[in-house]
């Protein structure tokens, strides 16, 4: 045997019975990483919904009941456009052409010539400078002085509903994440304690030989930190591969499920999955340390 093998054998044996516990830790880490990834997907989706609707407003101008040459749909629309363009914080103002408005109602009313005779309202789409605040109440009041039958829709109702939906999804994902994190912590802690139980004789002997509590605790801390890190890295790594594969499917042109966000994680999000093995290793470290110190306190 070489000199290197002879000296500095590990104070703790690499236990053979630990494999099932390592598997449990790897599986829990896999589930925790999936939950973490899912919560990031939900968060990202909610953000994209918010961004899609926020920052836009739609002005609808109805046909006056008694149009005159000076007060009709065209003059009111023109006046509204002037006001919008002159409003601070409005970026773009685009009146919707009549043809497009007709298309919107076509699914219900058909595309007959008759539809052209209907008093369809005019729609104006406006976008807001990002970060700029527009006082909608004041804007509505000003628009109504030139077009009494107008109204402004800032999509608040939709946004708040989507926000509620997105928050529900995010909180559900966080709850699942928290539950799995607790279960993972319990599994890691249990595995560490079970290992310590098996090594009670070694702890007692080292103590008897005059090893400081810190020395003994360190031997155990490193042992469990490294084995837990390895097992949970395998689990989180498999979850990362699963997310990459999901992203790959979309990239390969597989139809995404309607209403579901894309399931792939981007590189910045994948990096967050590293938190799972790191947190697991930290839990194992702390459990091992506290358990060893508790055992040593019981020995004279």
């Amino acid at each position: 045997m070489s000199e290197k093998q002879r000296v500095r054998g590990r104070i703790l044996p690499r236990e053979k019975g630990a494999a099932p516990l390592d598997v449990v830790i790897a599986v829990m880490a896999f589930l925790a990483a999936l939950a973490l990834g899912a919560s990031m997907l939900a968060d990202r989706q909610a953000e994209s919904w918010r961004e899609g609707l926020a920052g836009r407003l739609t002005v609808q101008i109805l046909q006056p009941e008694h149009p005159t040459s000076s007060r009709n749909l065209n003059t009111e629309t023109e006046a509204a456009l002037q006001i919008l363009r002159g409003t601070r914080g409005i970026l773009t103002v685009t009146p919707m052409p009549d043809a497009d408005a007709a298309k919107l109602v076509a699914p219900w009313l058909g595309a007959d010539a008759m539809v052209k005779d209907l008093p369809l309202p005019r729609l104006i789409d406006a976008s807001i400078v990002p970060g700029e605040h527009v006082d909608f109440a004041q804007l509505t009041a000003r628009l109504q002085t030139v077009a009494p039958d107008s109204n402004v829709d800032d999509h608040t109702r939709w946004i708040s509903r989507l926000q509620t939906l997105a928050n529900t999804i995010i909180y559900a994902a966080y709850t699942i994440l928290a539950l799995i994190a607790v279960a993972t912590a319990a599994a890691v802690s249990f595995a560490t304690r079970a290992g310590l139980e098996a090594h009670h004789d070694i702890v007692a002997l080292l103590h008897q030989m005059g090893a400081h509590s810190g020395f003994i605790a360190r031997a155990f801390e490193w042992h469990y930190l490294l084995s837990t890190l390895a097992a949970s890295a395998v689990g989180a790594g498999l979850a990362g591969i699963a997310f990459l594969a999901a992203g790959g499917l979309e990239f390969a042109g597989v139809e995404p499920v309607p209403f579901l966000p894309p399931l792939g994680l981007n590189p910045q999000e994948l990096v967050w999955l590293l938190a799972v093995p790191l947190a697991s290793a930290a839990i194992a470290w702390a459990t091992a340390r506290l358990s060893v110190l508790a055992v040593l306190r019981e020995i004279y």
Binding site: G9, I202, L206, Q208, A211, Y300
Partner: protein, 221 residues
């Protein structure tokens, strides 16, 4: 070095295993502790190597009163004591070499620093060719010699041995006793608990005898 005054010991609510034990070990002395099985020899040793606390009485170790000493001072006291346990207590996953080197590692010594000492000592106890063997592959006698080498490697101030020659043939036993004698000449206080009358007769050392938990001085060395 060590002083026991009216020390009594009982495990839980059981009867007293040791009663009014009073004695003193001067530095550099060699003492045999004898007595029938169950007389309390192992318990007395446990009190001396700080594995148990006495139920009553006073123990002073290296000038430290154990009753008033802080627990944080115990590791340093324990490192000054070499113990040969009756059941050896070797770490089964470590080689003979690593088992013997353990006290030196705990004392913070570097591998390069102690490799030769450990190899020499293993040669002395007749295990020069079994350095890399793990305890489960060693015979009872070989394990005992590893345990002895581990106890003496750090040249402790106090050496306590519980039946250290129980599993070896008379020739090896004599050799081990010579090893203890050598250590004793270098200044270590030695106390050996044994049944081996022959061993005691051949030596002119002090003998203390435990009978029913009471200590009787048989011979002053």
């Amino acid at each position: 070095m060590i002083r026991f005054e009216n020390v009594g010991m009982r495990y839980g609510p059981g009867p007293e295993v040791l009663r009014d034990v009073t004695f003193q070990l001067e530095p550099g002395t060699f003492t045999f502790l004898t007595g029938p099985s169950g007389a309390g020899k192992s318990t007395l040793l446990k009190l001396m190597y700080l594995a148990e606390a006495p139920s009553r009485g006073l123990i002073t170790l290296f000038g430290t009163d154990l009753a008033t000493a802080r627990r944080s001072a115990f590791p340093a006291l324990r490192r000054r004591i070499g113990v040969v346990f009756q059941d050896f207590r070797l770490l089964p996953h470590l080689s003979a070499f690593d088992n013997v080197a353990l006290p030196l590692r705990l004392a913070g010594r570097k591998t390069d620093d102690y490799t030769r000492d450990v190899e020499e000592l293993l040669g002395w106890v007749g295990l020069g060719d079994r350095m890399n063997a793990k305890p489960p592959t060693l015979s009872g006698g070989e394990q005992q010699r590893v345990a002895i080498a581990r106890a003496v490697v750090g040249q402790p101030d106090l050496l306590l041995a519980d039946e250290p020659t129980g599993n070896v043939d008379p020739e090896i036993a004599q050799r081990l006793i010579r090893l203890f004698g050598e250590l004793n000449r270098l200044g270590t206080t030695v106390l050996i608990a044994t049944h081996d009358r022959g061993l005691i007769e051949r030596s002119r050392s002090r003998e203390m005898r435990l009978v029913d938990g009471r200590l009787v001085e048989l011979r002053r060395g």
